[in-house]
Amino acid sequence: MDVMPKWADVVLIPVISLVLAAALSAIVILAIGESPWEALKIMVQGALGSTYGWGYTLYYATNFVFTGLAVAIAFHARMFNIGGEGQAALGGLGVALVCLYIPWPHWSLALLGATAGAALFGAAWAIIPAVLQAKRGSHIVITTIMFNFIAAAFLNYLLVGALKPAGSMEPATGKFPDATFLPSFQDMFSTADNPLFRGAPANVTFFVAIAACVVIWALIWRTRLGYELRAFGHSETAAKYAGISPTKIIVISMAISGALAGMMAINNVMGEAERLVLNAVEGAGFIGIAVALMGRSHPFGVFLAAILFGFLYQGGAELALWTSIPRELIVVIQALVILFTGALDNMVRMPLERIFLARRRKAARATTLTAAE
């Protein structure tokens, strides 16, 4: 029997975990001699206090929606895809190639092309570990970690070599052609006398991310593929019995996961930098883990968690700008969120379960008593 009602599992536990993470973070801030309250104010003001702040928050959130969905869909098939970082890097390569070498007439077509390129490259980078897992039993966690490093070296090789424009000092591609520039929120929502989102990088990709949430939701809970994928995630032996091919599920789930991670590149590479720089992913692949854990692997939860992390990121950048708290504080918070919602889940869950169990026993006793009367 499920000990806890569903809402407790879906809402209460993540919220408690988050509160614990926040409390510890506050202690860290106190310990380095700053005021957590002031810090929070700066973060809220900087991340949510203006359309500019929102423009950054949503920009980061867009990245995290993609990487979070990537981790989440793999979780449903009980794959731990820790390779989002590398897949997103390769996605960036796909975007760069599409944008640099194909003459696009209009951004909308370029967006389609870049999405395909990003998804394809990201998926390709995830499929290799997936096939190795399915066919040779190589542990997907280890191989995807290794693939992150290999991707970094590979991109490094390309960006200081073939893709770097002559004479440039930075390991980066040249600027993409103007026709590939995606409309930013500023372009979309500003009017001449009311400039909104000025200079913020949030762009049309945000809506692609929302669409991705809806599609992934339908995929997981409405399609046969999703049914098989979840079944496999719950029980591999049962899946085999039902004629669900483990190889197929492992490869497909990882391909979708990699494609999603790769698609992050349309936001940061095409939408923001408009060129491919080294280390463009900047840890978003790892944040996807926190986002997926926090969001309980549900696309809507992932969306909310991504916004939360977008807020943390933008707020954290503001902190670094206006206080002496280094930006690494965000890494600490991220670590705590992963720790509490992921690894220490039981620490929160077990006492809660006891409480609910005791309540249920009491209720049961009460009903038998009234029945007896």
Binding site: V28, A31, I32, G33, F80, I82, P129, L132, R136, G137, S138, H139, V141, I142, T143, I145, M146, F147, F149, I150, A153, F154, N156, Y157, F286, I289, L293, S324, I325, P326, E328, L329, I330, V331, V332, I333, Q334, A335, L336, I338, L339, G342, A343, L344, D345, N346, M347, M350
Partner: protein, 322 residues
């Protein structure tokens, strides 16, 4: 390539392999007991920071070393509590620990020293200095053996020799002692250990603690022996390479030594692209050399070169009661 160059290369290999070796042996104890640990990186980093910070403040590298080991042990304790006591996901716990260390070291270093997340440079007794072994200078001119002894074997810091000694020690502990038997058993079948009247939790915590101590040594080596101070992210993926080496070594002590020496050699080689060019006659991309340990690990994992079978109960929490 002449002898001296080769010796220099091997010398450099030994230096670079030492942190890998310590971390690899750390992982060996933990994973042999059934606790997967991808948090080696974080523990090294935490130890690197605290050992440097304390060595700087006290002026004593030994106190620094202790502090570094302490920091690493603290993270080990978190990993233990998460994965043993609360039966959480060991991989996720490891990921969290890596981030925790990456973030906290910089935040604390910045507020402590205000040098952009690094510690001040260490000098004198605040760091490990090379030890010249007996007769190294005298034997220096003996042909072949002299240079080998002087250049390669002598002149390393204490922790290098310690790391090398830990290899036979680990081997002996694992295969010749009661503790080793129990440790290996708990990684294969914790229920067998439990019903034999031995505490699974106790054993696993011990293993995780040993892992913490060794990671602590590895981190302290980075900051106080290989370098003279802590810099942000100075572990630079070594924890992951150590993990790769552990797989490469199939979870056995002596192969851990060979694997880390191999990976150390690759790192040393990546520093000397000129040597590769002059020896091989063509140049190899340094990026390829950087990626080689990871590629080799993937190849090993894929079972193309001998299958690596992890401890059977590895990664799984020991759950008696659902």
């Amino acid at each position: 390539m002449d002898l001296l160059t080769l010796l220099q290369l091997l010398d450099s290999t030994l230096r670079l392999a030492t942190p890998l070796l310590l971390a690899c042996l750390a992982g060996l104890f933990s994973e042999r007991a059934g606790i997967f640990d991808i948090g080696l990186e974080g523990k090294m980093l935490a130890s690197a920071f605290l050992s440097a910070a304390i060595a700087f403040t006290t002026g004593s590298v030994w106190i620094g070393l202790l502090a570094g080991v302490g920091a690493s042990l603290l993270l080990s304790a978190i990993h233990g509590v998460a994965s043993i006591t609360f039966r959480g996901n060991q991989l996720i716990s490891g990921v969290a620990i890596n981030f925790l260390a990456a973030g906290l070291t910089v935040v604390i270093a910045q507020s402590w020293f205000a040098e952009g997340g690094r510690t001040p440079q260490l000098a004198g007794a605040a760091r490990f200095n090379p030890i010249t072994l007996p007769f190294a200078n005298e034997l220096r001119d003996v042909p072949v053996l002299g240079p080998i002894y002087y250049e390669l074997i002598s002149g390393h810091t204490a922790l290098v020799y310690v790391a090398l000694l830990i290899v036979p020690l680990s081997w002996w502990v694992l295969y010749s002692t009661r503790f080793g038997l129990r440790l290996r058993a708990v990684g294969e079948n914790p229920a067998a250990v439990d019903t034999a009247g031995i505490s699974v939790i106790g054993l696993r915590f011990t293993a995780v603690a040993i892992c913490g101590v060794l990671c602590g040594l590895a981190g302290a080596y980075l900051a106080t022996a290989l370098q003279a101070g802590f810099t942000k992210d100075m572990s630079a993926g070594r924890g992951y390479i150590a993990l790769a080496a552990l797989i490469f070594a199939k979870w056995k002590p002596w192969p851990c030594l060979w694997a880390t020496l191999l990976f150390g050699f690759l790192q040393a080689l990546a520093l000397r692209p000129d040597l590769i060019t002059s020896t091989l006659g063509f140049s190899v991309q340094t990026q390829l050399l950087d990626a080689l340990p990871y590629i080799l690990t993937v190849v090993i994992l894929a079972g193309f070169v001998g299958k690596a079978i992890p401890p059977r109960a590895g990664g799984e929490p020991y759950i008696k009661e659902r």
